[in-house]
């Protein structure tokens, strides 16, 4: 009995001790209040005010803020009262204009990022989930290839984390709009995952999802299960190692390239791309396989001297199946299925390519072909 009593007191003592250490819930928007909640009125105040590693719950509503995150945390949209969209927008009711807040170290281009993750200290992941970032009305002034870009979400060098179930939309900016931009130019390797997110209606010269590093790549990005439409000049730009897998990319017809693979150690697999000028463009990748490409001008375009095996892809309703731009490539092209194409292997100067299944192809291997 006395031993039981001692045990009982010990448990009580432990509970009392641990009470002050109980995790508080950090919340923005006022939908959850009372004991256990710490409320913030803006996301910007929350991401600065919470301890490192915290989770911040964001209530449904509109948040006109430019958010800069510099410590590891999770920013999470929650549902309340029949609504489940927490949206970060451009138009600040106080009239503060969107400001340039980061320069890309991979392109040298200044950016106006709506949600910027940089200089994260202490080191640790920054996770975004269930949030919408809407770029409607956002402008950086002039739009040309080297001018400033508008980015919905920007992970700067030295940062890592996961973007999951996020929506990035309407980063138009006269064409220079980017949905999600992640990059690393540091020597220290970083890992960023972008998954299950909806990215649509970005600028016609922009990129819906871009992952960039220098050579050799110090960024490992996983871009998977995302849905893109009306997704800019390039849907997904993979200039970093990692994977681009299981994404669905549809354009309303103005998009140039669905997926641009341009890094060693990059696998592009099981993506579905429709209604692009070209489905996949490759300069460098470790493998491109099992993608489904349809209603595209060219299914797969190879930069001259591209290095990549291309296998088990299916392409239908295309102008050209594979366009080699009169260059040579290194890597097997095998097990692909091509149905309904004007040209199969276009602008290819090498010996005939075998080991693929071709159906309904007007010309199998034209040395000179106009690929739409």
């Amino acid at each position: 009995m006395s031993r039981h009593l001692a045990w009982f007191f010990w448990v009580i003592a432990m509970l009392a001790l641990s009470a002050p250490l109980q995790a508080l819930t950090y919340e923005v928007g006022g939908c959850k209040t009372g004991a256990g909640y710490v409320n913030f009125t803006t996301i910007s105040a929350a991401v600065i005010g919470v301890p490192a590693g915290s989770t911040i719950e964001v209530c449904p509503g509109v948040y006109s803020e430019q958010v800069t995150i510099t410590q590891p945390l999770t920013l999470k949209g929650i549902a309340f009262n029949n609504a489940s969209r927490a949206v970060i927008t451009i138009n600040d009711p106080t009239g503060a204009p969107l400001a340039p807040n980061v320069t890309s170290l991979t392109t040298g281009q200044p950016f106006y990022a709506q949600v910027l993750v940089h200089n994260v200290n202490p080191a640790g992941p920054v996770n975004l989930t269930g949030i919408t970032v809407d770029g409607s009305g956002g402008s950086t002034g002039e739009c040309s290839i080297v001018s400033a870009g508008l980015a919905g979400i920007f992970y700067a060098p030295g940062t890592s984390g996961t973007v999951d179930e996020v929506t990035a939309r309407n980063q138009v900016n006269d064409g220079c709009g980017f949905g999600v931009w992640v990059e690393n130019a540091d020597a220290t390797s970083e890992t960023i995952t972008i998954k299950n997110s909806s990215v649509h209606d970005v600028g016609g010269l922009g990129v819906a999802i871009a992952a960039l590093s220098l050579t050799p790549s110090t960024l490992t990005s996983t871009i998977s299960g995302n849905f893109l439409s009306n997704a800019g000049f390039i849907g997904i730009e993979g200039d970093a190692s990692g994977t681009i897998a299981g994404n669905v990319l549809t354009s309303s017809g103005t998009g140039e390239t669905g997926i641009f693979a341009e890094a060693a150690g990059l696998t592009v697999s099981a993506n579905t791309a429709a209604s692009w000028y070209e489905g996949i463009r490759i300069s460098l990748a470790s493998t491109v396989e099992s993608n489904k490409l349809s209603n595209v001008g060219t299914a797969i375009t190879f930069f001259p001297d591209a290095v990549v095996p291309v296998k088990s892809n299916t392409a239908m309703n295309v102008g050209c199946g594979f366009d080699f731009l009169s260059g040579s490539i290194t890597g097997a092209i095998s097990g692909n299925v091509l149905n309904d194409a004007a040209n199969a292997f276009a602008n290819w100067l090498g010996s005939s390519i075998s080991g693929n299944s071709l159906y309904n192809v007007d010309t199998i291997q034209p040395t000179v072909a106009s690929c739409p």
């Binding site: 549902a79 969209r85 989930t129 929506t167 909806s198 549809t250 299916t314």
Partner: protein, 372 residues
């Protein structure tokens, strides 16, 4: 040694005896001089022994083809060319079949009254309706690229059907069965695009259904023309799996009777007004589809008998409405992921909210307009 010689003689005798029953090959178009040649596809399909294989050389065949015996019609490649095209004859198409719906159909390739019973296999050929003229207006007339009429079975694979555009009555592939023995048809890996009504239609007017169709791995696209429905099944059994469906008004629809359950799985549906429409077809399973950039992802109709359709493990993104229950009871919606929608659930029957059993992110208004 003696026993071996007997065995050898026996084998030789068996081979000689079996030779007359072996399927023979024939060709149309003159690209394979080693095979008996026919000048037209129609002459070949009418003249060869049942179960023969007919190779069709690259070129354009201005014919309306009727097949009424089991055989394989297969596109061949030669000299860098790989597209045999069946195109409408310059003097127009004839109405050659009356559908179980009463429609007067001009079918470019018609399979009917197959005797002896057996499979008709079509592979690697393009059926082009762009120049089709039909001697009746729509309705009651309709134009079909490929039509499998009552009492026919087989496989349609690696075909292309395109530009069947008779007013609003153009169909790429049309399968049907009325009273009589159950028929089984597989439609796989085809490119179907630019129809004015449905890309692929499969229907039966019998209860229980007399048609089992497997529709898989097809690419159906109508961005260049307002195809009403990409894949439409009505009162049949079977599966619609792994198709890529883009453009048009309705992506995949299952209608007909209460006793026509169909599995709709692993399709990618994008750029459409209604992604998957289910009216009747109770007991159907809608699972693991990816639906994006649509106005309404799921729409239900029908009598609402139990068990109704089950919608699980699908992902929708970038929609205006996720589910319009249309006040239909007994619809089960669970374990799906819905991201980025203006509205979640519309016209919700009292017992089915869809809440709490699906992952929901970035939805402005989760529930709207309940039913009495």
């Amino acid at each position: 040694m003696y026993k071996h010689r007997i065995l050898l003689l026996l084998m030789a005798a068996t081979m000689i005896a079996s030779r007359p029953a072996q399927a023979k090959s024939y060709e149309v178009g003159g690209c394979n001089p080693s095979l008996p040649e026919f000048p037209t596809i129609q002459m070949a399909v009418s003249s060869v022994p049942p179960e023969s294989t007919i190779l069709v050389c690259p070129g354009t065949y201005f014919e309306q083809v009727i097949i009424s015996q089991p055989l394989t019609l297969k596109g061949a490649d030669i000299n860098n060319l790989d597209r045999p095209v069946i195109a409408a004859p310059p003097n127009g198409l004839a109405i050659n079949v009356t559908s179980i719906t009463g429609a007067q159909v001009a079918a470019q390739v018609l399979v009917e009254n197959v005797t002896p019973p057996g499979n008709v296999v079509l592979t690697g050929i393009t059926v082009d309706g762009s120049l089709a003229e039909v001697p009746l207006s729509c309705p009651p007339a309709a134009l079909a690229g490929i039509f499998y009429a009552s009492g026919s079975s087989g496989t349609i694979n690696d075909m292309t059907t395109r530009d069947q555009k008779l007013a609003s009555c153009g169909y790429g592939i049309w399968l049907e069965n009325g009273a009589g023995p159950n028929q089984t048809i597989t439609v796989e890996n085809n490119s179907v695009h630019d129809m004015s009504s449905a890309g692929i239609l499969a229907q039966s007017n019998q209860t229980p259904p007399t048609l089992t169709a497997t529709i898989q791995g097809n690419f159906v696209n109508s961005l260049n023309y307002n195809q009403t429905t990409d894949i439409e099944v009505f009162g049949i059994l079977g599966a619609i799996t792994g198709n890529v469906v883009t453009g048009g008004l309705v992506g995949i629809t299952n209608a007909g009777t209460d006793a026509s359950p169909v599995t709709i799985s692993e399709n990618a549906v994008a750029g459409i007004s209604i992604g998957v429409g289910m009216s009747f077809g109770d007991g159907s399973k809608v699972t693991s589809n990816k639906i994006s950039n649509v106005y309404t992802a799921f729409f239900f109709g029908g009598s609402g008998v139990s068990p109704g359709p089950t919608v699980t493990a699908n992902t929708t993104q970038n929609t205006t409405y996720v589910i319009n229950y249309n006040c239909i009871p007994n619809v089960t919606v669970k374990s799906n992921t819905f991201n980025d929608s203006e509205f979640g659930f519309l016209q919700i029957p009292p017992e089915n909210s869809g809440l709490g059993v699906n992952a929901i992110d970035n939805i402005d208004t989760v529930q709207t307009s309940s039913c009495p």
